[in-house]
């Protein structure tokens, strides 16, 4: 069953939001006709840079702001018409999970449980259950202030889950977090969705491709538009054979030659090597042309490499000219 369903959701800020005002080019369509579904047991990654509309989209799902058009449904409840029922199904963890540093782990959880309306006889067993799940059961009486960054993040997750939501919204949950912590965190999320009985749907927003690659399905958001959707593997497959890695000396001269090759669409430098994106089917031709440049240029490595999600994103947005925009946050 689809736990999150967005149908043609749109929201503009600035003049375009006021229908009586003249439409102006600087009015920002933060979310523009976005439709997506996330089923129970699925992790959906909403990927895009700052200002792409990720936060606005999440706010539309929570009905924290009104949609100009379209509809969002959370576990069968309309976000706009049944906001309280819909919100009761949502657990939300923001980038800066708001905990009360002066309170203990258990006091924090109790607070969030009570705010969520869990009855007195229920919150205690539930808090211990959720603490055990995130691995913090030994730390119930520790002040939140004294937790490590990773433990705080887990407490934030516990607080978001304490009322047994069926939809979990994560806003950039592991930006800048220690990879070890991040690994732990994702194990928890994957365990959560793997639980067939409760079947939580997770939507993760992130600007980072490496975080996105952990999701079951990804949607690429760009200027409020959903450019494409698919599993990481599917998305990468769209560029299969079109990304070449080139190493050699001097790299900068090799770059200029590569940029002039008719089969090459884009060249990106990576420290000691280049990545070339070639036109569909042009891979072998490009390799044969560039393999042996005139002396003193030298190519030490030239081969096809598995495309990264970032390559996919850039290829998809290549046609969008890099114009300064008036995007606010």
């Amino acid at each position: 069953m689809d736990m999150i369903e967005a149908k043609h959701l749109s929201r503009a800020f600035g003049k375009a939001h006021r229908p009586w005002a003249k439409q102006s080019p600087d009015a920002l369509r933060a979310v523009d006709d976005v439709s997506l579904r996330v089923a129970a047991g699925e992790i959906y990654g909403l990927v895009g840079p700052d200002g792409a509309g990720k936060t606005t989209f999440i706010r539309l799902l929570c009905n924290a702001i009104r949609a100009d058009a379209g509809e969002a449904t959370i576990a069968g409840y309309s976000a706009a018409r049944q906001p309280e029922l819909a919100r009761a199904q949502i657990g939300y963890l923001s980038q800066r999970f708001s905990l009360y540093e002066e309170l203990t782990v258990l006091e924090n959880l109790r607070f969030f449980a009570e705010v969520r309306g869990l009855p007195a006889q229920e919150w205690k067993p539930r808090c211990h259950e959720i603490l055990a799940f995130v691995g913090l059961d030994e730390f119930g009486s520790r002040r939140a202030k004294l937790l490590s960054g990773g433990m705080k993040q887990k407490l934030g997750l516990a607080a978001a889950l304490v009322h047994r939501p069926r939809v979990l919204l994560l806003d950039e949950p592991t930006t800048g977090v220690d990879p070890l912590t991040r690994q732990d965190f994702w194990q928890l999320i994957i365990r959560l969705v793997s639980d067939a009985e409760h079947g939580v749907a997770v939507l993760v927003s992130t600007p980072y491709m490496d975080e996105a690659s952990r999701c079951g399905r990804i949607g690429l958001l760009h200027h409020g538009h959903l450019l494409t959707e698919g599993t990481p593997t599917q998305l990468r497959a769209t560029l299969q054979g079109r990304v070449l890695e080139l190493a050699g000396t001097p790299l900068r001269a090799l770059r200029r030659i590569a940029e002039q090759d008719v089969g090459v669409e884009d060249v990106q430098m990576f420290g000691d090597r280049l990545h070339l994106r070639v036109k569909p089917g042009a891979g072998d031709d490009v390799i044969s042309r560039l393999r042996a440049p005139a002396a003193p240029l030298q190519v030490t490595r030239l081969r096809s490499v598995p495309p990264q999600l970032e390559d996919v994103f850039i290829a998809l947005t290549a046609e969008v000219a890099a114009m300064p925009t008036t995007e606010g946050k």
Binding site: P49, G51, G176, L180, G271
Partner: protein
């Protein structure tokens, strides 16, 4: 080639907390040196010590040949610094921000300002308030400001957090162009993928510099074995099987599949055999390039 940055056992404590713990490294002219680590690992504190913004508790450092504690003003004059928050004044326009910092650096030639603006591609946006710029453009204006006095060394603290991949690539092209002219660049990032852009990368964790080398060497040295993407169902059971398989040094969940690091002797067949014996359905086992995150996990674990 000469040494532009020399850090010798740099250490900084804040009370009981050691933010930077005996860090030593060198940077050469024209290098693009990455400094990779999660938030709070001591990256910013290191940069601040190199610029004389905070004093080291222990150790010493020289930047452009000047001692960071005693010749602070002279070394700062030759350095550009782009701090994490993009030090822009929101009430001011692009041009006003640029002329303000230019004035502070004593740069008064209009030609130089126009040239800098053109370099970062902000021509035509002079009268835009900086609040109205997207993060990618704010980042470039911040770079223009850091480079307005043509320093020989640039410190960039988390320059690309939150900017979109296209803007990030353009930004890196600007950085490479500078390096080509002999400007040394030290750039911090918490973003594992971004470190791939750097000539050499230092890996920081909990104040310690775990390793510093080219991305390729890091992968070769820190991960003597191989990396695999394993597609198998059910996921959690497969993970348990991999963790128990001899020769697997690390296994973890990676979205819809598993990532495993193994010793050099382990091959596809061995992994297939181990998973198959446990009754797991294996869709694919692919040998993959290790990422810097794999390197980080190997060094940290």
């Amino acid at each position: 080639m000469s040494t532009v940055i020399l850090a010798d056992n740099l250490t900084r404590r804040f009370g009981d907390f050691t933010a930077v713990d005996h860090v030593s490294f060198e940077a050469q002219t024209g290098e693009v040196l990455g400094y990779l680590g999660p938030n709070g690992s001591g990256k910013t504190t290191t940069i601040r010590m190199l610029l004389g913004l905070i004093r080291p508790t222990e150790g010493r450092a020289e930047v452009m040949g000047f001692d960071v504690q005693h010749d602070t003003e002279r070394l700062r004059r030759q350095c550009g610094y782009m701090s994490q928050k993009f030090a822009l004044y929101d009430e001011l326009t692009v041009w006003e921000n640029l002329t303000f910092y230019a004035g502070v650096y004593g740069v008064n030639e209009r030609a130089r300002l126009n040239e800098t603006l053109k370099w970062v591609g902000l021509v035509g946006q002079e009268k835009t308030r900086t609040t109205a710029l997207s993060s990618g453009w704010r980042q470039r204006l911040a770079l223009a400001i850091a480079f307005i006095h043509r320093p020989r060394l640039l410190f960039l603290d988390e320059p690309t957090s939150g900017v979109d991949p296209t803007a990030r690539r353009m930004f890196w092209d600007l950085i490479y162009a500078l390096a080509e002219e002999g400007v040394t660049v030290l750039v911090t990032t918490h973003y594992m993928d971004e470190a791939e852009y750097c000539g050499r990368v230092g890996i920081m964790r909990a104040g310690k510099l775990l390793a510093m080398d080219t991305p390729s060497n890091l992968k070769a040295k820190a991960l003597p074995g191989r990396a695999w993407d394993v597609f198998a169902e059910p996921l959690l059971k497969s993970l348990a099987v991999l963790e128990a398989t001899p020769g697997v040094t690390r296994a973890g969940l990676s979205g819809d599949h598993l990532r495993a690091i193994t010793l050099p002797g382990v091959d596809v067949n061995a992994l297939h055999a181990a998973l198959g014996a446990a009754g797991v359905t294996v869709a694919a086992v692919d040998a993959v390039e290790p990422s810097l995150e794999d390197v980080f996990l190997a060094l940290a674990g």
